[in-house]
């Protein structure tokens, strides 16, 4: 994917990339999605979603390790033929561009609703997207450095909120574990939506060609999704435990409500929600950074260009337009759910298909260069 001299990404950096890509704006709405689907069984729904996305991630990583020096765009052409693969790759580009736009819009809505009520949502969104685009021109080494560097800021708010709010939690709110009146269909649908929140982990396919030792990619993916999934699960448990399933389903962003209930010992700061939200900017940024970079690099590989920075600038207006498509926040969440479910075909279904063809046809990439 990149020139051989950029094969610098270490295990730690790859893991950090997976974690901080997964943890994004989705964490704010996650408890609501899970509680709507399974009421008190929300943690179960989340767990199922994590398992499903782990399957997808394992497939993507296995494919990447089979073709350790090629990007998904390149090896898919090798597996299922040039033109079909290009079609799907184009779809992949469109999907991740949409994902970037929608995530930016979602976070812009959060910011406008809670801290900047008089700022237009377009302005907040374009500021974030412009920053992401500016950063995206960096090479893969810097990309991985950034994810490692921001990791503490991505993990800290979630962990602190969970730790501070657990004293208010009641175990009763989490029982029964399978939820009241369990409905397999609703739980499955909820699990699918939850698993759509993990789609950013597809970025590992982009990182593997830059890894110093691609053999450790699988470990990085698994550790990454365990940490990110564990944090998501903890947040769902804490939210439902504090508010109860019914109230959680009523909030637009239950995690933000949870942040409001927390208080630092000593009352140095009276409220923490704004502070948490600001640290979460980092988490959202890393997610956007990954999906944006993924889009730009996939386009570069698709058009056989040497440099991705051209696409970075070129993509910005389109991503911004996508961010503006949903007219209001209710429709925004409908679109996000729909796009997310559709995306599962690309991030889980497509790797599944590629893997099967690989197994049947025995296609294999070149051995990684000795390093």
């Amino acid at each position: 994917m990149e020139a051989p001299r950029f094969q610098t990404v270490t295990f730690l950096e790859a893991t950090a990339t997976v974690i901080s890509t997964i943890i994004g704006v989705g964490v704010l709405a996650l408890p609501r999605i899970a509680a709507e689907a399974g009421n008190s069984g929300a943690p179960l729904v989340t767990l199922l979603g994590i398992v499903l996305s782990t399957v997808g991630l394992v497939l993507v990583t296995a494919l990447g390790m089979r073709f350790p020096r090629q990007s998904p765009v390149e090896y898919s052409e090798r597996i299922i033929g040039r033109w079909p693969a290009r079609g799907v790759s184009l779809l992949l580009v469109a999907f991740f561009a949409t994902l970037t736009g929608l995530a930016a819009r979602e976070f812009a809505e959060v910011v406008v609703t809670s801290v900047l009520p008089r700022t237009p949502v377009e302005v907040t969104a374009i500021a974030m997207l412009a920053l992401t685009a500016w950063c995206c021109r960096a090479n893969l080494t810097t990309f991985a450095y950034a994810h490692l560097f921001y990791l503490p800021f991505v993990l800290a708010p979630g962990l602190v909120i969970v730790a501070l709010s657990l004293k208010n939690a009641a175990l009763l709110n989490l029982l029964p574990v399978v939820g009241n009146h369990p409905d397999a269909g609703a739980i499955a649908a909820g699990a699918l939506t939850v698993s759509a929140l993990f789609q950013g982990s597809f970025v590992v396919a982009m990182v593997i060609p830059g890894m110093r030792r691609p053999r450790r990619a699988m470990a990085a993916s698994l550790v990454g999704i365990c940490v990110a999934g564990g944090l998501y699960l903890a947040i769902v448990i804490a939210t439902v435990g504090v508010f109860g399933a019914a109230a959680t389903a009523e909030f637009l962003w239950p995690t933000l409500e949870l942040a409001k209930t927390t208080l630092l010992p000593g009352e140095v700061l009276e409220r923490l929600d704004a502070a948490f939200l600001m640290v979460w900017v980092t988490a959202v940024f890393t997610t956007l950074y990954s999906t944006y970079a993924l889009t730009a690099r996939a386009l570069r590989d698709l058009f056989r260009l040497g440099d991705h920075s051209l696409w970075v600038t070129f993509l910005l207006p389109y991503v911004f337009l996508i961010a503006l498509v949903p007219p209001d926040i209710v429709r925004l969440y409908q679109v996000i759910e729909w796009v997310g479910r559709f995306g599962l075909w690309i991030t889980i279904g497509y790797p599944c298909l590629l893997w099967l063809v690989c197994l049947l046809g025995g296609a294999r990439g070149d051995e990684p260069h000795a390093n």
């Binding site: 801290v115 810097t142 560097f149 640290v279 900017v281």
Partner: protein, 542 residues
């Protein structure tokens, strides 16, 4: 075609100016010393005759042969010329055997007559002219086809003093001076290994500045040394005024606010970095040495961190980091909390802040920016003023202006506190250039805070950190050893681990010999110490 060129002024410019001395030298690079005194002297007189300090002393040597001594009177040590050159030349005894041939004469002059250390012959007139400009004295003798060079250069030199910009509590009190030779002496005296190398370059067409590239062979990475030499050799400019101008020619990113090359006045610091595997660039005419490559952590470290014991050093270093972060984000956080999220701070304090700001007509961001700019003006003014006046000005500025601004309802007391803390914080950063970088970025962050509150501050901080992550200094990532993570390096980043616990040189410099501490030293240090003066034992011995 010629008509075309003439019409459109494209032709070669007809130069009407008379040739300058350097033009003449370039035309006659291979002119040789002829051996005819009047001809050679006339050549040099044509070159330098218009300088009033150019001295041509004609004399008759011991064998009444005419000779000529040439020098720039302000560049040479005249006592030496009188005592050790002129006197023996004129008064030496004529050798018994006649010196008919030129070769015998040359040998005789250099070996028997002149009492002087650095002497050599040169036959190219262009080189002779260069040597004169360097401060050497030239002896031309009738009948000799070579000129005798005598290194009589004498330049005013400042004494070795304590460096003013980098004071330490504990550590050497000597600093570099302007002369390259003195600076190399200071390094050699501290670093007596045969592996210490100083490679000399001459940069600057007019200034002919000597630049010494110092490194320790076997420690510094070869490719790094080669890259430094390549980058320096690529510089072709009329003058190198200071190490700072050289720095701008060889740094990696010219538009970054962050310095990617460290400078220091301290020889002990240079030795420490040389032993880490870095390269030190000494420039003639400036007391500042450049250290490459430089990473961000270096800019908040001082020599005191290593001369003091680890616990104290770590604490002080952390204080410095806090000051650094203060100077970057404090005003912007203040602006965004006051203007956008007053609910974050405790109610009582929020009421106090609001009370203080009640009479201030401007938005918080304008207030802070105005005060910050005022502070910067004060700081710059104190820097430029003579020292005797500067102290008075800073008191007048800080106390009176701050108090008056509050009394006039121009700024709230808390703003003054915030601005003052920020400024003090920026003074706690040891490296001036890194402090300036953060000061510039502080303004950017404050403006962002005024527009988008905390959200803007976060976006700004992400942009800054991402820029730092993408920055490289001679290939070394700027935030090493934090990212990319290196456990050995982390011991000397925001903490300072005990010296015996850091047996390796920084890995991001790829030193050729990575170990600094012998493996058994660590064991010896960690062994239980013996207690020769244990109060029990001497009594037993009695």
């Amino acid at each position: 075609m010629t008509v075309w060129n003439r019409w459109f002024g494209r032709g070669p410019e007809r130069s009407s100016r008379p040739p300058t001395p350097s033009d003449i030298l370039q035309q006659k690079t291979d002119a040789k010393v002829s051996g005819r005194l009047d001809k050679d002297v006339r050549f040099l007189q044509d070159l330098f005759g218009r300088n009033d300090d150019f001295v041509i002393r004609t004399l008759q040597m011991f064998d009444s042969r005419p000779a000529c001594l040439l020098y720039f009177s302000n560049l040479v040590n005249r006592d030496v010329i009188n005592e050790h050159i002129l006197k023996p030349l004129m008064g030496a005894e004529r050798p018994r055997r006649g010196l008919r041939d030129a070769r015998g004469m040359k040998q005789f002059l250099a070996k028997r007559v002149i009492y002087y250390g650095e002497v050599h012959y040169e036959h190219r007139l262009a080189k002779v002219a260069e040597a004169l400009l360097r401060g050497e004295t030239i002896l031309l003798v009738e009948g000799l086809d070579e000129a005798l060079h005598l290194a009589t250069r004498n330049v005013v030199e400042r004494a070795v003093e304590q460096p003013e910009t980098e004071q330490v509590i504990r550590g050497g009190r000597d600093g570099f001076t302007e002369l390259l030779a003195t600076n190399v002496t200071l390094l050699r005296y501290r670093l007596q290994t045969p592996n210490f190398r100083v490679q000399m370059l001459t940069i600057g067409r007019a200034t002919k500045t000597k630049v010494g590239v110092c490194y320790v062979e076997g420690v510094a990475n070869d490719t790094l040394v080669q890259e430094v030499l390549d980058r320096l050799q690529a510089v072709d400019v009329d003058g190198v005024i200071d190490a700072g101008t050289l720095e701008q020619f060889i740094e990696d990113n010219h538009w970054s606010p962050f310095p990617q090359i460290q400078n220091t006045e301290r020889p002990d610091k240079c030795v420490a970095t040389l032993l880490e595997g870095r390269v030190v660039i000494l420039t003639d005419g400036t007391p500042f040495a450049l250290i490459v490559p430089a990473v961000f952590t270096q800019f908040y470290q001082t020599l005191d961190d290593y001369t003091e014991r680890p616990l104290m050093a770590s604490l002080i270093r952390m204080v410095r980091i806090v000051a650094l972060i203060f100077s970057l984000v404090f005003p912007s956080l203040y602006v965004s909390v006051i203007a956008f999220n007053p609910e974050l701070i405790p109610t009582k304090f929020a009421v106090a802040v609001a009370g203080g700001r009640a009479g201030v007509p401007f938005p918080a961001v304008v207030e802070v920016l105005v005060m910050e700019v005022t502070m910067e003006v004060l700081r710059e003014a104190t820097l430029r003023l003579p020292q005797q006046v500067g102290g008075a000005l800073s008191i007048v500025g800080v106390l009176v202006v701050g108090q008056a601004a509050v009394a006039a309802g121009f700024a709230s007391p808390i703003t003054v506190v915030v601005v003052a803390l920020t400024t003090i914080g920026s003074f706690a950063t040891p490296a001036y250039n890194a402090a300036v970088a953060l000061r510039i970025l502080r303004f950017v962050l404050t403006v962002l805070a005024g527009i988008w509150g905390l959200y803007g501050v976060m976006l700004g901080l992400i942009a800054i950190t991402h820029h730092m992550l993408s920055l490289r200094s001679f290939g070394v990532p700027y935030l090493s050893p934090i990212v990319p993570g290196d456990w050995q390096g982390l011991k000397d980043s925001w903490l300072r681990a005990p010296l015996w616990w850091m047996p390796r040189r920084p890995r991001h410099l790829f030193p050729q010999d990575p170990t600094r501490l012998a493996p058994d030293t660590q064991g010896v240090i960690l062994q239980r110490p013996s207690h020769p003066l244990d109060p029990v034992r001497p009594r037993r011995r009695r």
